[in-house]
Symmetry: C2
Subunit: 265 residues, 2 copies
């Protein structure tokens, strides 16, 4: 599944106006969005898991096969700000196969987050999860100081492990491991207490079905696309629709930045 | 495609709190939502066309095959309020095939719209559009004083016309008529200046692709469904994503009531 990370902001953001609509109305500069963001305390066995996605008003996550064309400048800033608040960002291998993706914390964001000065001191862990180990490394944009972790199935061929090891650590996960095991590995072996997941929709659906998602950040763009592109979730219908609580709403140029909390499974 | 109209509010609404978030923040009673609503002036050749749909946060318009389960009490009130502001409400025949639907203006709404006292004096025109003329009349809930119009293809069999004529007027439309012709018929022959379209998604897509939609009212429910249900638009991708302007945002219980305007085609 494609990612929206390949589109970069040229230069520094020009500070478009953002309105907080909920809970308390306020006008702010774009980089103040999610200013005092606190993720919930994670349960002991796994990280706190937040999804971050963008969709059109008709639910599509790509236009012309790309996610980059949906969200605007503030959406891309939001994605970076969210990354600055977590220990690791994870995507499914399908997302890497579709489009170039940068799993780092862009330099231009460092120093823009005054409440978290330590962000400049550490590097974000980029995680790619893949059953087969088939991850096209050329699509992972190189970052200075990048830390990449590939979580691949025990059944993946040795040569896939060798290839991936040229860019980061390749860690095998038991074939029948559920998302609980995967998340426990991230917590216990890599110290990940806050994890941001940026799709694809199959990974999102798997994590939600397993009751492992705490929050959803959704950029809702004022566009209509139609067509065959996926929604933020694919796969079987959930047994019961997952109810969410709307925590906050920001708006800029008609684009809505929505934050929801989910019930814990 | 299913409709959410089959779910009824029992008794009078219990006045849940609604917040207007955009343009000016305010708290109001549910029946004050869209209080001063003005539709744009229609072009001379057709009605002003507004879509009204409900979707989950992952873009699905039905859960377990039904639309009624997605929106809450305020959503159903919004649907009725919007109907009170138009001359006609239209659905595709697929919507009638899926679920029972009431195309009238429920009695409990009359008198709830103080700015438009004439609503109690007139009846809403209910329009069903069908190529084949196959409309299961049992799924159209009877209303006292109902006015139904069936727009069917010239190629539809005579017996379909006879059957439909037992409930309303059956008007044939040329086989190759586009949406422009259909809308011109509604304007010129039936005096429809404001038309509310409630799906299904194929009809929505057709109208948008033809550049005939002026506004979209979207209830965005804080739920996740996944599965195979449709989005608010189905069918081929639009040549270019249709950009929209966000006009207003209301909120109640985490549900968002969004109003967008589209570029005219």
């Amino acid at each position: 599944m494609p990612s929206r990370t390949s589109t970069t902001i040229s230069g520094s953001p020009r500070n478009p106006l953002v309105r907080r609509l909920l809970p308390e109305p306020a006008e702010l500069r774009a980089e103040e969005i999610y200013g005092g963001l606190q993720f919930p305390e994670p349960p002991p066995e796994r990280p706190c898991v937040a999804l971050n996605m963008v969709s059109t008003a008709d639910g599509k996550i790509t236009v012309d096969g790309r996610a980059g064309g949906i969200g605007g400048q503030v959406d891309r800033l939001v994605m970076r700000l969210l990354r600055s608040r977590v220990d690791a960002v994870m995507v499914g291998a399908g997302t890497v196969r579709e489009e170039k993706i940068n799993l780092g914390l862009p330099q231009d964001l460092r120093g823009m987050v005054p409440e978290m000065p330590e962000m400049s001191e550490r590097d974000l862990l980029g995680v790619v999860i893949s059953g087969s180990g088939q991850v096209p490394l050329d699509n992972l944009v190189h970052n200075a100081g990048e830390r990449l972790l590939f979580l691949i199935s025990e059944g993946a061929p040795d040569e896939a492990v060798e290839t991936l090891s040229t860019r980061g650590e390749a860690r095998r996960i038991p074939e029948d491991a559920g998302y609980g095991t995967t998340l426990a590995v991230l917590r216990q072996e890599y110290g990940v207490r806050r994890l941001l997941v940026e799709g694809g929709p199959g990974l999102n659906r798997g994590l939600i079905g397993a009751g492992k998602v705490d929050e959803l950040f959704l950029t809702f763009a004022p566009k209509l696309a139609a067509g065959e592109a996926a929604n933020i979730l694919t796969g079987e219908a959930l047994e019961a629709p997952a109810g969410m609580r709307l925590i906050s709403v920001y708006e800029s140029g008609g684009e809505l930045y929505l934050r929801y909390s989910l019930q814990r499974g």
